[in-house]
Amino acid sequence: MTDVAAQSTNAASATPDTMAWDSRARRAMMIYLPLACFVLILLFPFYWMAITSFKPNAELLNYKQHNPFWISSPTLAHIKHLLFDTAYPTWLKTTMFVAIGSTFLSLFASTLAAYAIERLRFRGSPYVGLGIYLAYLVPPSILFIPLATVIVQFGLFDSPMALILVYPTFLVPFCTWLLIGYFKSIPYELEECALVDGATRLQILRRITLPLAVPGLISAGIFSFTLSWNEFIYALAFIQSGANKTVPVAILTELVTGDVYQWGALMAGSLLGSLPVALFYSLFVDYYVSSLTGAVKE
């Protein structure tokens, strides 16, 4: 701390309270320390999840002889059990199928809707936009009971198709909202030029507007994928047979058995179930954060 004096003379000019503190120490106390605490707390459950997945059972429940924060002899037994003794691979496949299906359906519906609302501009288009946006505020907790009867009427009970058709109810409002913002940022003149050149509206959409909206489509796609991967209440209410369950529901209803919880396998299942979303997200994290912040700015 020999540079304290030099630092404080540099920074002293502003206000009296900076005189009292060396600005670097102050910065460490006010910014880095709380940030470190936040990161520690926000990431700890994942660390705990990961470390539990690789701990042998003997270590897992013996804090006296083993430091619980570390693994002395890591094992893949829990993951092996999960992959070979349970239907976990099937659940992963079902979840992937549902997430991809509902993502494509929602992207298709919301791209067209956003294009119509933002680009084709008709009387009442702001109200249609508002209506779709308000649909996002209707929470699934209110809808799942009547939706269950609708699903039964359609003969879709216990079928992953039900989830693919139902998830767009919360994906379409979100994606439409996001894509309207994106379409807004594309210069109108580009479309007008194409119109003058004799292109049809559909050609304009396919050849000009959509290619320019690709970043928006990607972020809407990531949002949809992660949201459908996470969805729980519909999957819990509409799916009964083990093979058709999605990962979050299956872990909770199929892996949690009896009074003795297999924490190793449970945490391994949670870890593996989180990985696809986390990987997918990390690939596109810049899109993700910028579109989230962009959507909020709107």
């Binding site: 206000t15 705990w48 008709f122 729980f232 979303v277 986390a278």
Partner: protein
């Protein structure tokens, strides 16, 4: 343009066919573009919402069509201590969790708004609790709250020697209630922080410079620049947060399923227990519908409460 009668495929492909020209008719195009979205939302959202309200006035059970019974379900709920318990805990859960999320999330947003190395990496890391499926992180919390092997108890008892016995996080009502709220806050902080960070970045630095020149302290800059400028975005984010916290289901279902002794039932978990697990669709629907007044009230409160303050501060943008 007189080649439309030619049978040659090569030419016909290049000319807009009648379908393409139909799509050039704007009203038709608009209808076709809106049809998938509106169709999906009508069949799977608007219709079920109406059906849910109707079911709430019937005695429908699984496998049996119900008849209209008027307000009977609601009269029953009014006398049902479990429903009152769920109302109490839903309001309590929402109030405390929202307060925690916004206090901590705002703080984190202010911290992330500073310049430091690896800023974007840190923002990405901070979002993780929000990305990972709630049920899966809830399971991690379940394990963290284990009565015997909780790592928190271990820290408090064996490392720090603050307590002499393990905490029974989920076995007794009040600790269970607060344990769930803590998990909810943990999950909600990233979304609040990143949304508010976006708002913070729209505030022009020149405002702070002017205030600094006038000798405003850090607290005054926060109180008279940051806070009023953030009101519109706070109103929106808080409205969202309240709606989704009040109707939360996953965390409670995954960690306590409403126990111990039904002390942590939210209205959504109670509706699931009665409606789907118990088969009483009508009663479950009534519980779900009983959330609506609270939601409307909370939405109006947060939205107009905060928006009015914005107006009082003389903010006139958007």
């Amino acid at each position: 343009m007189s080649v439309t009668t030619l049978p040659s495929r090569g030419i016909a492909l290049r000319q807009p066919g009648w379908i393409a020209r139909l799509f050039d008719y704007k009203p038709f195009l608009i209808v076709m573009c809106l049809a998938p979205a509106i169709g999906l939302l009508t069949v799977f959202l608007t219709y079920p919402l109406g059906l849910g309200v109707w079911l709430a006035f019937t005695d429908t059970t699984i496998g049996q069509r119900g008849i209209f019974i008027g307000l009977e379900n609601f009269q029953y709920l009014w006398t049902d201590p479990l429903w009152w318990g769920a109302v109490f805990y839903s309001v309590f859960y929402t109030a405390i969790a929202t307060f925690g999320k916004f206090a901590l999330g705002f703080w984190l947003a202010l911290l992330l708004n500073n310049h430091f190395p690896l800023k974007s990496l840190l923002r990405a890391i901070v979002l993780l609790p929000w990305i990972v499926p709630t049920v899966l992180s809830a399971l991690a919390f379940w394990w963290i709250y284990d009565p015997q092997f909780s790592i928190i108890s271990y820290l408090l008892v064996d490392v720090l020697h603050i307590r002499s016995t393990n905490i029974d996080f989920l076995g007794t009502p009040w600790p269970a209630r607060f344990s769930l709220i803590a998990a909810n806050i943990w999950r909600g902080i990233p979304f609040v922080a990143i949304s508010l960070l976006a708002g913070l970045q729209t505030i022009s630095p020149s405002l702070y410079e002017a205030a600094m020149l006038d000798g405003a302290t850090a607290w005054q800059r926060f109180r008279y620049i940051t806070l009023p400028m953030m009101m519109p975005i706070l109103a929106i984010v808080m409205t969202f947060s309240i709606i989704f916290t009040f109707t939360d289901f996953q965390l409670v279902y995954a960690i306590t399923r409403g126990g111990p002794v039904n002390s942590t039932h939210l209205l959504a978990t109670l509706a699931f227990q009665r409606g789907i697990a118990g088969g009483e669709l009508g009663e479950g629907a009534a519980i779900a519908v009983s959330m609506i007044p609270f939601l409307v009230f909370a939405t109006l409160f947060s939205y107009f409460g905060l928006a009015r303050r914005k107006w009082q501060q003389g903010e006139a943008n958007d």
